[in-house]
Symmetry: C2
Subunit: 283 residues, 2 copies
Amino acid sequence: MILINGESKEHIEIADRGFQYGDGLFETIEVRDGQAVFLERHLERLNSGCQRLYIPFPGAELLSFEAGELCRRSAGGRHSVRAVLKVIVTRGSGGRGYRQPDVIQPTRVLSLHPYPDYPEIYREQGIVARLCATRLGLNPTLAGIKHLNRLEQVMARAEWNDPAIQEGLMLDVNDHVIEGTMTNLFYIKNNSLYTSALAQSGVAGIMRGIIMKLSAEHGLPVIEHAFTKDALLSADEIFLCNSIIGIWPIKQIETTRFSVGPLTQSIQVWLDKFTSDDCMEAG
Amino acid sequence: MILINGESKEHIEIADRGFQYGDGLFETIEVRDGQAVFLERHLERLNSGCQRLYIPFPGAELLSFEAGELCRRSAGGRHSVRAVLKVIVTRGSGGRGYRQPDVIQPTRVLSLHPYPDYPEIYREQGIVARLCATRLGLNPTLAGIKHLNRLEQVMARAEWNDPAIQEGLMLDVNDHVIEGTMTNLFYIKNNSLYTSALAQSGVAGIMRGIIMKLSAEHGLPVIEHAFTKDALLSADEIFLCNSIIGIWPIKQIETTRFSVGPLTQSIQVWLDKFTSDDCMEAG
């Protein structure tokens, strides 16, 4: 089921700037027991993305209401539904070419999707990652936000079909490792947590932000910096995160093997508790 | 009127990857006397863009047929119609997240739009351009092709509203001048023609290609290279081009003034003749 500007529909105008130019933003949100997890944080990020792109934010109250409606209607009264909620906001239709219309009427699209059937073993024993040949461009204007211009990720994800490889890591054109195609990347070295600064490329994920906050609160130093493939491969522990998978340790990158380390496991525990607490509060 | 996969429609599936990720390509083509100008070249470029993105090309014959249908039906039998034909090809629907589907069924969208009412004076006496603050990112994977990830251009075009300024010039993050928001850029210095190489950003326009070919044929040296704003501002002549406007000389960038020079005028004459010949052949 899909809600477009509050109405149940499955199609969008060809003239919508989301289709014409990728002129918009999105959020991908876990739905657990019929509730959108960390919804407030996702809508805050959507709001700040809208500000960066000068798109009027449709409002957290309206989007929360519609997310609730969608979950309720799709669940058919059940409260056990686990799913993925995608929220897209575009600059709507109009304008002349790239020029935006004088009055922007944003389009909002909320859709519910099956929760992907990732094996539990990924989270417990780690996954295998590869290094993508497709590089992330450098683009300070768009870096950090979750916009709809995602051809780089599509091209990177098209590089492999091997089901034994769960994620591809992307470097930028300056040879810095940035993130996975659909995940943010962390590594641990000498009891500190490192991740890319995302000033020139990448998406600053909600899970990434929560992990940084929880780690700092638990006394684990968190450092955002630029790092190379060699630095990554010499790490003590490595893991990936996003709003759907939570945390996946990496057990192998190309031919280099890693253990699922104690700090990664601690962060998983902190995150599980924080997520449960959020669900309790929201519920 | 819009043709989606050959049918008259105005809406596209939400699941289309063009909307979800900007996962596709487009062409903007002048329609003169009911005929798509340089259609063969545009479809060749679309084909090569499809190859770059691993999207199956729908075929020049099919797209030409549908373009003809659209022009005929929209003209209501008139042969005098001048318009803009936009052709979009996306990777279609399906796949899981960024991962493309195993069998790609591309979506093709052909739409006809009013020809923009640019005053003839732009072409004769030149236009005023500004320098945009929004930079083009560096991205060799996508450089040169006319894909649907166009947020950089949208952001650059949103920088000004002054109707006295007709185009904004964009630099990349390395301070090289690349192109206009909707045009390619050339300058003339000491009887040679210069333009950006577009290896790391920008769109290699059809008009740009034709101008380079015609200039070389007429003995004017053509050099693709990286150049700075200072090099541009010290040029003898500057002009912009695209498939809709043809050639617009630049008479002013910020506070620096330029004359409409003799070589720009010669290239306009060569281009006019070449375009007329192409229309005659196609008709």
